[in-house]
């Protein structure tokens, strides 16, 4: 956790291999991400990472179901089989959006949109779910609901949940919390 501008999102981008560090290395699941080529990093993201964004980042012209399947639509290496479609339905049902799959994002409530975004993050069985301020735009009731959904999903699908936030309420229940302000102090102190 930490205030805005302290590099929380940058850290997530380093984990995902979107950004490379100027020095040092990023190891995820025993894989040194910043030693991989562009293509390998994309493959790594698709295979191991699930993203949940603060503002959902759903594609407006795709229905909820197709938004969840987006990783399979944009990567030729992933086979959009009936098994994947069944998994999508199963995840959607568990997130209580099973009846909303035929709707466009604009027709969904905020909470439903966030759950569609979570379902998209889970569709490729990720080992890590990276959530960037996942409750940032939500009302208190939805915040609790989404937090529970994230924890339940991570538990059910055996994924590690990494969340960056400046919301103290969200921190309860996490095994480990790193405060970026402490990081910075240590950095200044050398």
């Amino acid at each position: 956790m930490g205030p805005s501008g302290f590099g929380k999102t940058t850290l997530l981008n380093l984990f995902a291999g979107i950004l490379s560090p100027d020095s040092g290395k990023v190891t995820v699941n025993n894989l040194v991400v910043n030693h991989l080529s562009d293509q390998e990093r994309r493959a790594f993201r698709i295979a191991h990472i699930g993203f949940v964004f603060q503002d959902f980042k759903l594609i407006e012209y795709l229905k909820a179901g197709d938004n969840i399947l987006l990783p399979y639509r944009i990567n030729k290496k992933l086979n959009l089989s009936s098994e994947v479609r069944n998994r999508m339905k199963s995840i959607s049902k568990s997130l209580d959006i099973g009846e909303q799959l035929h709707k466009y994002p604009a027709k969904l409530s905020q909470g439903e949109r966030q759950r569609v975004a979570i379902a998209r993050a889970l569709i490729n069985n990720p080992v890590i779910i990276l959530a960037d301020e996942p409750t940032g735009n939500l009302d208190p009731a939805n915040k609790i609901r989404i937090k529970n959904v994230l924890f339940e999903s991570a538990d059910r699908f055996g994924a590690t949940l990494v969340t960056v936030t400046h919301d103290h309420e969200l921190l309860k229940g996490f095994d480990r919390v790193i405060d970026f302000q402490d990081f910075q102090k240590q950095g200044h102190e050398g």
Partner: protein
């Protein structure tokens, strides 16, 4: 491909507007060229099949348009005297044309039976007109107005010549002409006398010898009977009242709009034209094909201007299209970033956009081809209905 289709489907109105604009821009220059070329061919075919037209001095174009395509442009009328004069001079035969009235928006053409022989027009149903008040109709008139032999048609009041005595006359249809794919399909043919009745130069009414009513017969002496406005005028010619129809004045002074002159040979045509040009014979003799060729040379000059305009509009459309695509990509930056973050390659993202453009251009191309095909199929019908 899936994403591109979904994008176009979601933005269907925007996509449809873009596709329509591109299709129209692609179609218009060649479509217009096709229309002009086909119009020229059809008009020239008919003009070449008509050796000489004689009419009052004035616009040769209006004379040709009136005589060949029955457009009823305002032209000064000849009189039947010219027909008699030309018959006396010799060199060929005359087919008088009086095209000045309409019935239900189709031109009524007064002529004689030689016209049908000259144009090689056959009757498909019924027979040619033979007595006063009868007419035959072109195939399109029959089809559009759902008329056949045995039906009737009433001439419209008012006319090109706007004489006071233009009465609606009920004409009996005796036949439907075989299709000719020419303006004859859109015309109603009757004999000259019937057109003069429409004009008011001939009429039929109650027999004045049998009427005693002083409000109808105002005065009577041995040679002159004066009738009042209450006298019943017939607006239909039937076997019962046909005898009462009569014409006033000298028939050689009766109007016609033009004469189709069919010369015996080229030499006769040349001599006759020479006499017109020298002023030995008054009025004008025009070779229709020269007039039509001249008309189209002017249209082609105009078409060059249109072509330039189309190129400019096409260029502007291409720029607008490029602008829309560029702005679209900018607006979709968040979407592109999301795809990239999730694991898409940049190539894949641009592949989606490329397919969208390809589908829009492809759809425009298909629509343009369909429009070309429809133009090929219906251009003749369109020209006959709306141009000639």
């Amino acid at each position: 491909m899936f994403l591109a289709v979904q994008y176009l489907k979601f933005h269907r109105i925007r996509s449809a507007v873009l596709i329509s604009s591109i299709s129209i821009i692609l179609f218009l220059p060649n479509g217009l060229k096709k229309l002009v070329n086909e119009s020229e061919r059809l008009m020239l075919d008919r003009a070449k099949a008509t050796p000489l037209i004689i009419g009052k001095k004035g616009s040769p174009t209006d004379l040709v348009i009136n005589t060949l395509y029955f457009q009823q442009e305002k032209i000064d009328a000849l009189t039947m005297k010219k027909v008699y004069e030309l018959n006396t001079v010799g060199f060929g035969s005359c087919i008088p044309i009086f095209s000045a009235f309409k019935a239900r928006n189709y031109p009524i053409v007064g002529t004689d039976l030689d016209y049908f022989e000259f144009r090689e027009i056959l009757i498909e149903d019924g027979r040619f007109m033979s007595i006063l008040g009868e007419c035959v109709i072109g195939s399109n008139v029959a089809k559009s107005l759902n008329l056949t032999a045995g039906d009737s048609l009433i001439s419209s009041p008012g006319s090109l010549f706007d004489f006071a005595g233009v009465y609606p006359l009920k004409m009996n249809i005796t036949g439907v002409l075989a299709p000719t794919e020419s303006p004859d399909d859109n015309a109603i043919f009757t004999d000259l006398k019937t057109t003069w009745v429409i004009m008011g130069l001939g009429h039929g009414h109650q027999d004045l010898q049998l009427i005693d009513d002083p409000t109808i017969v105002l005065s009577r002496n041995d040679s002159v009977v004066t009738a009042g406005a209450k006298l019943f005028m017939y607006n239909e010619i039937s076997n019962q009242n046909m005898q009462s129809f009569h014409f006033h004045g000298n028939k050689s002074e009766y109007p016609i709009t033009s004469i189709i002159f069919v010369p015996e040979d080229v030499k006769s045509e040349t001599i006759l034209r020479g006499r017109f040009e020298s002023g030995e014979i008054l009025d004008q003799a025009v070779v229709p094909s020269f007039v039509v060729e001249n008309l189209f040379s002017n249209i082609f000059k105009m078409q060059q201007v249109f072509d330039s305009v189309f190129i400019a509009v096409g260029f502007a459309t291409a720029l607008i299209f490029a602008l829309i695509v560029t702005l679209g990509i900018r607006l979709r930056q968040a979407e592109i970033n999301t795809m990239f973050t999730i694991g898409s390659s940049r190539t894949k993202v641009f592949e989606v956009i490329f397919f969208e453009l390809l589908m829009m251009i492809g759809a425009s191309g298909v629509i343009t081809l369909i429009m070309y095909k429809l133009t090929d199929l219906y251009v003749q019908d369109f020209i006959y209905r709306f141009i000639i």
